[in-house]
Symmetry: C2
Subunit: 241 residues, 2 copies
């Protein structure tokens, strides 16, 4: 598949300006009540005394996603989380220190897996989406707003809420999560009917007894979940528009 490149072509490359490339992650977590975002006061390599997203630099030996995964791991100790590219920000003065193009990712994590000791080092703190600090670094506020928008958009059409919950969870927990995402309330009969109609959940024998009556635990049917995720585009492009 190799092609011959003329000297001229290669020369055009070397004339070009190069830019710093950063990765920033909007990390969502759900504490059972509120949807939260993880902010840091100071990344290991980062710099400034303002709340900001977790970020870092693109490494020469990594592609974008890998770099984002590495940074997430360094700062939270988490691996194999749901991570999706959100948008790339490149305004000239978005970073006043030096022009930087930042590729933003958003992550959905299960807070039970989150090891707070790892990120204490980085002065990380969870903030409810409705109570963000007033001052946030650079354009990170914009990134956060876009991430929330996209999370809502995706969650309305695809079953990705599970990513924010423990392996076993109850329907009322799931409903609280969706209510936190959409900042609204749902009718529980309609909600559970809709969720169960996907057949993505397996009802377990056990109950979680944090309430008086206790609620049945459910688990994601991983097989169907994968298929479902892979087919959502078919699902959307099928109907008579």
């Amino acid at each position: 598949m190799r092609k011959k490149y003329s000297m001229l072509d290669i020369a055009s490359y070397s004339k070009q300006t190069k830019y710093l490339v950063a990765l920033d992650s909007i990390i969502f977590g759900f504490d059972g009540n509120q949807l939260n975002i993880l902010l840091v006061k100071r990344g290991p390599d980062s710099t400034i005394d303002t709340w900001s997203l977790m970020g870092g630099w693109l490494a020469e030996n990594e592609n974008l996603e890998l770099s984002a995964e590495r940074i997430l791991y360094e700062l939270t100790g988490l691996k194999e989380v749901y991570l999706e590219q959100l948008y790339t920000f490149g305004d000239i003065h978005r970073d006043p220190i030096a022009r930087t193009v930042s590729v933003a990712y958003f992550a959905l994590i299960n807070v039970e897996h989150y090891d707070s000791s790892v990120s204490e080092v980085h002065h990380a703190q969870w903030f409810p989406v409705s109570e963000m600090p007033a001052e946030i670094l650079f354009d990170h506020r914009q990134m956060i707003d876009l991430a929330i928008q996209k999370l809502r958009y995706k969650a309305a059409l695809h079953p990705l809420g599970f990513e924010l919950l423990p392996e076993k969870f109850t329907i009322p927990q799931l409903q609280k999560l969706y209510e936190a995402i959409f900042q609204t309330t749902f009718d529980k009969r309609n909600f559970s009917r809709k969720i169960l109609s996907t057949h993505l959940l397996v009802k377990l024998k056990e109950k979680q007894k944090s309430s008086k009556k206790g609620a049945y635990l459910y688990q994601v049917n991983e097989e169907k979940y994968k298929t479902y995720s892979n087919s959502f585009l078919n699902f959307v492009s099928n109907p008579e528009f």
Copy 2:
């Protein structure tokens, strides 16, 4: 809003590797029958004797979107087209000449506005989405596939098809467009009912007489269209999930 940055912080910036940043555009056009993508053999600054997307380099005095708009203008003579960021590609060896991060945009253009003379210079050519050349530069094939996927996804949920048609068009034309996008056929009664139920179209007095009977021309109600586009997220996040 200025903050004090320590010397240390700024030093961390200067240690970092910088990268080439490119912009590539997937340009969609509709010829009344097929959905097409515009490919070039050789951009002005580009290089290689293979079909590729229109692309160029990020300029120091432009943000990403502006650079993408400029490149599109240089190569097609088009301004103010529908342009949306698609995804950022950054695999290590995606460009074998030098490591380049490429921000891909997709554009929807009205072929009536397209001045083919401008892009003859660049050896541009329209290809039906179903008949792409076998060999396409770098990862541009991947970009194209993702763009088609996203176009279908968005078109199924949002009324953006209009961007590909002239100001005045008929329902049958619009239907052909959607059939080309989704590579399927629709029932014309259901289709027109669905389209008209949005109240986004204004029926004009004139008819287009390319068929024997002639079909009524319609125009987008720009006011409602803007509102609709701005509110689609509400629309999606509202339903009881």
